[in-house]
């Protein structure tokens, strides 16, 4: 059966369920994305477009994030943990139906958890959301228990994040014999209409939504990868909302009549991992000197046109447990003093040397992965050359980057590499890139950083359910990392979004890369 015929079937099934109700009058929103939607099955994809468009609008999660990343009820109305912290009990919302008419019950939750954790199905986003859960049990039709091996503090944030923990209609999954036949059926405020090969994705209001119908009648999502084209489309009124406005255009667009610009907050950040196993970066004084030598404020100001924040912690400030630990201000004199203390003195070629070795490193930048990545890397290299470190920039293809990031400590060729990260919970935010158990090839600790005290703090925080105690642990962890300087800390990422003034109610959820929330949006024509 083709996707189209499934769609017809789905519409036939839905037909009797949509009696003449008061129609949403919020019009049609045309939305241009900079990246394509790669899958319609949210647990299968980490893609921003899939999470932000498909995951958040066609589906719901047990719990959701609000605009400040507080956890609020979703398909679960309340939840609790057992005394030993190893069992979570969720009470589910009653009277909710999937778009295909099947009722939402505990069976659907158990089905989704088991599906996400089935290693054979290879659903990376789903596995990420439910990581640490050992079993899901139905207690009654509207109560579910999740059993974990140890108390799992990040669980709620992980399942609320983007589209990762989306609850999919079991019937829709079972009906698709092949992943390509999958028709996305959830409980969300919008229903799937079509997804064409050129990338156009259409959804319409779910008038029976349990939280009340959305205002928009219809949402048309198009893919428009060229930044200048997106801006032109917006200014011409052809598109109502665009993501990733080129930063150089933000200032000008703010002055354009009929256009609004918003800076989308996110937890994510950009940094340069310094390989802590390779001399001279083994020396904390050298790593600190690198941090002091780079004028990050000027980089944010001039290269990112002010759209970003200088890092004051290893993790972004949108995290609930973010702690403003330390900013490495631009202090070239301090950098020079630290180099001298570490024994690196100016050599005949102008670059520092010690025992015959030159202070030199290659800075890798994956092509096209970071906003202005190459320009930032060149600025960083130039600042470092200014204090006597011969740093050269090399652009590498993303495939090469992935391959290099999988080399273990013995064979890694990383000296300095630009990287980025951002999740919804500090556990995934810090542990996956800073804990010593996450050295490649197992994880993404690209700096090969190891501090047993930090490992201990992160391990304890992961199993500490009390929010206050957990917060204190992460505060200490953030301060520790800033002092150890395993990275060259750069900035928190922000992205500019722009829309026609007729569009009202655009909200942002700052988890991960930052999400545009259109559940409250209406378009006045």
């Amino acid at each position: 059966m083709t996707r189209r015929s499934w769609l017809l079937l789905a519409m036939l099934l839905l037909a009797p369920l949509t009696p003449a109700r008061s129609a949403p009058s919020g019009g049609t929103l045309t939305w241009a994305l900079h990246v394509p939607i790669d899958r319609l099955d949210p647990p299968a994809s980490f893609s921003l477009a899939t999470g932000m468009v498909v995951g958040r609008n066609l589906f719901d999660r047990l719990v959701e994030h609000d605009e400040r990343l507080n956890i609020v009820p979703g398909l679960a109305t309340s939840w609790s943990t057992s005394r030993d912290g190893r069992t979570w009990t969720f009470r589910l919302r009653r009277g909710v139906r999937f778009h295909d008419g099947t009722p939402f019950t505990a069976d659907a939750v158990v089905f989704n958890v088991q599906r996400a954790l089935d290693p054979q199905l290879r659903l990376p986003a789903g596995a990420f959301a439910w990581a640490g859960v050992r079993a899901a049990r139905k207690v009654d039709d509207f109560t579910v228990e999740l059993v974990t091996d140890e108390p799992l503090a990040p669980l709620l944030n992980n399942i609320a994040d983007s589209g990762l923990g989306a609850i999919v209609s079991p019937r829709a999954v079972q009906a698709a014999r092949d992943p390509r036949e999958f028709v996305p059926v959830g409980t969300g405020p919008f229903k799937f209409v079509r997804w064409t090969p050129d990338g156009e994705f259409v959804m319409e209001a779910n008038r029976d939504y349990w939280g009340g119908p959305p205002r928009l009648e219809r949402v048309v999502v198009r893919i428009s990868p060229v930044p200048a084209t997106r801006v032109n489309q917006l200014e011409a009124g052809e598109i109502d909302l665009i993501t990733q406005v080129p930063l150089a255009e933000v200032g000008r667009l703010r002055g354009v009549r009929g256009v609004e610009v918003g800076i989308r907050p996110s937890t994510s950040w950009t940094y340069i991992a310094l390989n802590n196993l390779k001399p001279p970066l083994t020396d904390v004084r050298v790593r600190r000197a690198f941090n002091y030598a780079v004028n990050k404020r000027l980089i944010v100001d001039r290269i990112l046109f002010g759209v970003g924040e200088v890092a004051d912690s290893p993790i972004g400030s949108a995290y609930r447990d973010h702690h403003s630990a330390k900013v490495y201000e631009y202090e070239p004199a301090t950098a020079r003093r630290l180099f001298e203390e570490a024994g690196w003195r100016p050599g005949p070629d102008g670059f520092r040397q010690k025992d015959g070795a030159r202070l030199a490193a290659t800075l890798w930048v994956p092509v096209g992965r970071f906003a202005e990545g190459t320009a930032i890397a060149q600025a960083v290299a130039s600042f470092l050359r200014g204090v006597g470190a011969d740093v050269r920039v090399e652009e590498i293809e993303f495939a090469t980057y992935l391959a290099e990031a999988r080399r273990g400590p013995g064979e890694s060729r990383i000296e300095m590499v630009m990287a980025g990260w951002g999740t919804a919970d500090p556990d995934t935010g810090m542990r996956l890139v800073l804990h010593s158990s996450q050295w490649p090839p197992a994880g993404n600790n690209l700096a090969f950083y190891r501090n047993p005290e930090l490992d201990g703090l992160l391990d304890r925080a992961r199993t500490t359910l009390d929010p206050q105690a957990r917060r204190a642990l992460y505060q200490r962890a953030q301060t520790l990392v800033m002092n150890d300087a395993p990275w060259l800390f750069l900035h928190e990422r922000r992205e500019a979004v722009a829309w026609r003034s007729a569009v009202r109610g655009v909200r942002f959820i700052p988890s991960s890369a930052g999400l545009v929330d259109i559940r409250q949006v209406s378009v006045a024509r």
């Binding site: 150089a248 255009e249 980089i299 320009a375």
Partner: protein, 292 residues
Amino acid sequence: MKRCSDRLRRPGLWSTLVRDCSGLVGLLLFAAIVAVAVIGPWTVRSDPLRVNLERAFAPPGTSGLFGADHLGRDLTARLIWGARTSLLSGAGALAIGLAAGVPIGLVAGYRRGAVDEVVMGLLEVLMAFPGILLAILAVAVLGAGRTTVVVAVGLVSVPLVARVVRGTTLALREAEYVLAARALGVGERRILWRHILPGCLSPLIVLSVLRLATTIVTVSGLGFLGLGGDPAVPEWGAMLSEGLAYLRRAPHLALLPGAAILLTVLSVNLFGDALNDALNPRLRSRTGGPPW
């Protein structure tokens, strides 16, 4: 075509060359660009690599002749150093094409038979691909970088050079002086280098000049696509690509390197066409373009 100097009556190479205006303009323009590439870097004081974010987007006139780019680097210095990178890369690629293409063409044309069929057949297959596509493929295999770009673009030129040399060799191998040399027992290598190669020179020179235009464009094209290696090194194609992002804010960042590429290629082409007219007896009547 308009005559620039009718007074020159001697039908020598030079006079034929300068007789049409466009050839002369092309030659002068190209000479000027080469001069900039050779001497220019010594005349600019500012370092083309030095990032100075405070001066980012400084408009032309306020900071050097052409202002500063998005990282505050001196645009004048980068354009001048870029001339050297672009011309050297183009010339290097051409040299590779000649070094490989000439021997292949000579041997294939002189030996004929199976060698000719196999070698030329393979080269024809290569020629079926658009040049830039082949170069991208080569860079993908060899890895991005200035050297690999030059090698890749050079490889694309090999079949073209080989074909032209082979064609001329085919005709010359039957020439009486070649037959005479062979009858005298002169070795094959000596016949090829001393008797046949000089005969190939005139089409080869024209081809080289016209190919130079193509190699410069292709090298810039690869730079534009970000395959040129170290992004800090000034190169016109890469500069054009960087400037595109700021087309509205500072159009000269993209327009100037674009104009530099355009002028260089235009001058080489004008000069090459005139050279072709001058060197190719069949085209003295000036109809049509080169036979390849």
